[in-house]
């Protein structure tokens, strides 16, 4: 393993030492030592997490314990009712959708869903949706439109699934359709990249009035490995590619692609999913309050303008 990849080691090492200590009894000396180690753990988490490279953030965004959509739903949404299927072909478990109460208002929530163990990972297709997933998402969003409910989305996918069946059933069309139809919605849409924002497969549920990113999440046009394979002709140049692509939340705020960077709990979102959901919930709640004061037409116009001004170029005709 590359040294850059093992940045979490000092944290894990300390956690193991604290764990070991808790088995050795509860005398004052041990307690004292534990407190000292816990203090050290807090400091080292802070230090390591405040100085991550883009590649390390990519790894953290893909962390095996990273909270997923269903974790956020569990902590943020009351009375959640999951809905299934695209009414055309199938139900795609790589995207979950449903409704429930978010701080006193009924909302639609949806997002990519990865699995924890091998069996669930395969069931969820590693969070890589097929066309059915995007069509289910759009069906759900159109339902929110019909019943005038705000939409909250969570983005966390390596990308849309590249397979034969997915191509046959129109993966490209499914994504494209969502991009256009989300642009027409007259209800508030708040999207948050919670882990990996993998290209078109991420954007297809990301056309929001507000787009947030968790502090250690990433959002990019292609994975660092894919970019390295194409441009460097060497997939092991993923660290260089991650750096060149500017895929971190902090970098994307500067390009106006992201509205707010959501602070992560010390050590990363996976350390305390409940607390992380609360931090995210506070931001989303405030954004919804602002958006709820706009009418449907204003919401569509604001979303259009938000994306309309994205891009960096010169226009000689304007400056002349």
């Amino acid at each position: 393993m590359f040294e850059e990849d093992s940045f979490e080691e000092p944290i894990l090492d300390l956690e193991r030492r604290i764990e070991a200590l808790s088995d050795t009894g509860d005398d004052p000396a041990t307690r004292n030592q534990r407190q000292r180690l816990e203090q050290e753990l807090r400091e080292i988490r802070e230090r390591i997490m405040s100085d991550l490279t883009p590649w390390q953030k990519t790894l953290l965004a893909r962390h095996a314990k990273r909270p997923y959509t269903l974790d956020y739903i569990e902590h943020m949404i009351e009375d959640f009712v999951e809905i299934h299927g695209d009414r055309k072909f199938a139900d795609d478990p790589a995207i979950v959708a449903g409704f429930g109460d978010f701080r006193g208002r009924p909302v639609l929530v949806l997002g990519h869903q990865k699995g924890r163990d091998t069996k669930e990972k395969i069931h969820r297709n590693f969070g890589m949706p097929r066309p059915e997933g995007y069509r289910k998402a759009m069906r759900a969003m159109n339902m929110a439109e019909k019943f005038r409910r705000p939409i909250i989305t969570f983005i966390d996918t390596p990308g849309a699934y590249p397979g034969i069946g997915a191509e046959e059933r129109g993966q490209a069309e499914a994504i494209a359709f969502n991009l256009r139809e989300m642009a027409k919605l007259t209800v508030p849409v708040v999207a948050t990249v919670t882990g990996e924002g993998g290209s078109g497969g991420a954007l297809a549920i990301g056309v929001g009035n507000r787009v947030n990113m968790l502090e250690h999440s990433v959002y990019s046009v292609i994975s660092p490995e894919g970019c390295a394979a194409i441009l460097w002709r060497d997939p092991s140049k993923n660290r260089e590619a991650a750096k060149a692509m500017r895929l971190t939340a902090q970098q994307l705020v500067g390009l106006d692609i992201v509205d707010a960077v959501i602070k992560e709990v010390s050590g990363g979102a996976h350390v305390d999913a409940a607390h992380q959901a609360e931090i995210l919930g506070d931001v989303v709640d405030e954004q919804l309050r602002t958006l709820e004061s706009l009418n449907g037409e204003e919401l569509t116009a604001q979303r259009h303008e938000r994306f309309r001004q994205l891009g960096k170029f010169t226009d000689g005709a304007l400056s002349a």
Binding site: A172, L179, R180, E181, A204, G311, T314
Partner: protein, 286 residues
Amino acid sequence: MSGRMAWFKKEKTPKQPQAERRFTVPEGLWVKCPDCKEIVYKKEVLRNTNVCTKCDYHFRIGSRERLDQLFDMGRYQEFATEVAPLDPLQFVDSKSYEKRLVDYQKRTGLKDAVITCTGTIGGHPVSMAVMEYGFMGGSMGSVVGEKVTRAAEQALKDQRALIVIACSGGARMQEGALSLMQMAKISSALAQLDVAGLPFISVLTDPTTGGVTASFAMLGDLNIAEPKALIGFAGPRVIEQTIRQKLPAGFQRSEFLVEHGMLDYIVERNKMRDKLISSLRFLMPN
């Protein structure tokens, strides 16, 4: 710019590198068709709108050539000609993006991978964007996103039909997530066109893949394609690596997409203009 000027411009276009020339008609008296492998007389291929006379293989053609073939009298007005790329990420791989841009600008005589223009086709007012594969594989960065968006806005403003001729490997990696956002930006402009009841015809040519297919290229009221064009979301190599199987013959070709309900029709290059006119007659508001 008029079609005539474009003709002279073509003469000056410097040679393209080997990798990108494979599917365009090469130098020499005779050419070998990459599809049927027959040796065919080049003059006949050129006369046949760059289509193989033996098997109807459509050689790749440049954006200017395409414009000359489609508009009434070959005449069109270019717009947004001064929109030019920047290097917002200061991206460097084996070469800097800035340097790459200058090289491709010299090679193609274009500022980026798309030409936008207005004109009439069969008397119907049209706003058009044509992608240039010779410019970084027709990849979509901020300039392509901006110009295609402006083409849609032009259609909206003058009540024109929008026609976009896609030819692209997808989003441009050197502009990172900014390229990705162009997918949403263009699609949002297309939403306005859709609501306004104005027609959008998407013409897909070889190849159209990635973020271009997964945004505007699949959003036409009509999605049409040239024969045997490679059209897909993921590239064939990526799919093969993912599923670890060989792909069936004809996978992701125009005919495959028609079979799976993704395209309205396939049209040969020499019939493109006539077919567009017939389609516009139905689609244009009275």
